[in-house]
């Protein structure tokens, strides 16, 4: 299996990079139902480089989640990454986008960026402490640049305004007919408090600690996981970055390592737009409700056709109350 994959990848790279490429040490790093990541070494003539392959859909796996949330295919994911790079956002450089006839499915190849991605290490490992201030500033700058991407350069992104977001999560809960007062409260609160902000722009959609590569020396080195990029309220990205779950036990709100004030200041300085603090707070609170819904879906995944009962998914199902507890504390001014 791995051998066949290496062969296909080698053929694809040789064709796309106009020269014989030998693929070595292909190893799977992570994998979910909708995405798989592989690391490998590409030998081109006398030089070798470490590369990463992302496969965004493997085989025929389609689930109800991907019908309800806008997930980009490999090509669009790569093109959004490249549009971000053109605006000065730190990303892994795209080496090539896989074609249908490469036989690998939808995906792309990037350069390998060395560093840490584990959220808990980044927010709590003492080695990262001196980098925290810089990383907060970088996060604000990166978000400002992402939000400055001209939507005409990424015409494949779909619009999901604030009301659409709330509606999507309401529908997901209805799909499972799961009834929990705290969750219903969260959804109803969101429906009553959703910001009337309809100036949509390019947003990352999943910009948070755990989705970037960092080192103590450089701080943030590359922003990852662009597959739910969309046209939405830019304040959504700022709020999501502060959701308590994504602090990984860190004591500060922004990613677990920075203050909201420092994040907002860096953002405003970079793009000249004012942060709507109220809207960010909505997105942070609603972000917790969203994560509760995602936990619920993971916990009930085994009930979907063709799914196995998996211990990790079950355990995540039991985490529904964590973000809802955070949500309540936040709306009552204790967050």
């Amino acid at each position: 299996m791995a051998e066949a994959l290496a062969q296909k990848l080698q053929a694809a790279l040789s064709r796309q990079l106009d020269g014989a490429v030998v693929v070595r040490d292909l190893a799977r790093l992570t994998g979910g139902a909708t995405k798989q990541t592989y690391a490998f070494t590409a030998q081109e003539g006398g030089s070798a480089r470490r590369l990463i392959m992302q496969l965004t859909s493997v085989g025929e796996q389609v689930n109800s989640e991907s019908e309800m949330t806008p997930r980009l295919n490999g090509e669009y994911d790569a093109r959004l990454t490249m549009a971000a790079a053109a605006k000065g956002v730190l990303v892994p450089k795209v080496v090539c986008i896989l074609h249908k006839d490469d036989g690998l499915g939808s995906g792309y190849v990037t350069e390998f960026v060395d560093g840490q991605t584990l959220g808990a290490k980044i927010s709590r490992d003492p080695a990262f402490l001196p980098a925290h201030e810089k990383m907060t500033e970088q996060a604000g700058i990166m978000l400002a640049r992402i939000h400055s991407i001209d939507r005409a350069t990424v015409p494949f992104l779909k619009e999901h305004g604030p009301q659409d977001q709330v509606r999507i999560y309401r529908r997901l809960v209805e799909h499972h007919s799961y009834r929990l007062p705290a969750l219903e409260f969260g959804l109803r609160w969101a429906e009553q408090n959703v910001p009337q902000r309809n100036q949509l722009g390019v947003i990352h959609g999943d910009f948070r600690n755990g989705n970037f590569i960092a080192t103590p020396e450089h701080g943030i080195r590359a922003i990852l996981d662009w597959e739910i990029g969309q046209l939405g309220d830019p304040m959504q990205d700022l709020g999501w970055f502060c959701v308590k779950t994504w602090r990984f036990g860190g004591s500060r709100p922004a990613g677990g390592f920075g203050t909201r004030e420092a994040l907002f200041a860096a953002y405003e300085k970079e793009c000249g737009r004012t942060v709507d603090v109220e809207a960010v707070r909505f997105w942070e609170a609603f972000g917790s409700v969203k994560w509760a819904v995602m936990c619920l879906r993971k916990g009930l995944q085994y009930t979907e056709p063709g799914r196995r009962l998996e211990i990790e998914q079950c355990a995540i199902g039991r985490r529904v109350e964590e973000p809802l507890y955070d949500f309540f504390n936040l709306i009552e001014g204790r967050g």
């Binding site: 009834r179 211990i311 355990a315 507890y325």
Partner: protein, 118 residues
Amino acid sequence: MPSGLPKPEILLQAAIAYLREELLPTLSGYHAYQVRVTISVLGILQRSFEKGAALDADERQRLVELLGAEGSRTALNDMLVERISKDEVSLDDPQLRDHILRSLDEALQINNPKWLKN
């Protein structure tokens, strides 16, 4: 129900002790991770045995008082969901908020007590 000794909670304790003290140190990577998750899931069961029934009873009693109705905990929870979704109760109602926050606290005492501390 057929029963015997040791009691269920002791069986669980023995299973956890084996996984944590004997099996886990021999593993790495994927299986070490999976076993850690398994131990934490068994911990949820331990806490359910210990206090699940008492916490459920507390929640049911609060629901009876909040809703002014009788029924099983599940039926009362469904009724509360209905009232919230139809705006029959204000989200600013302090009694509602207090009940929901307490219910979350109770669930976390079983599912992840550490979350209550941070």
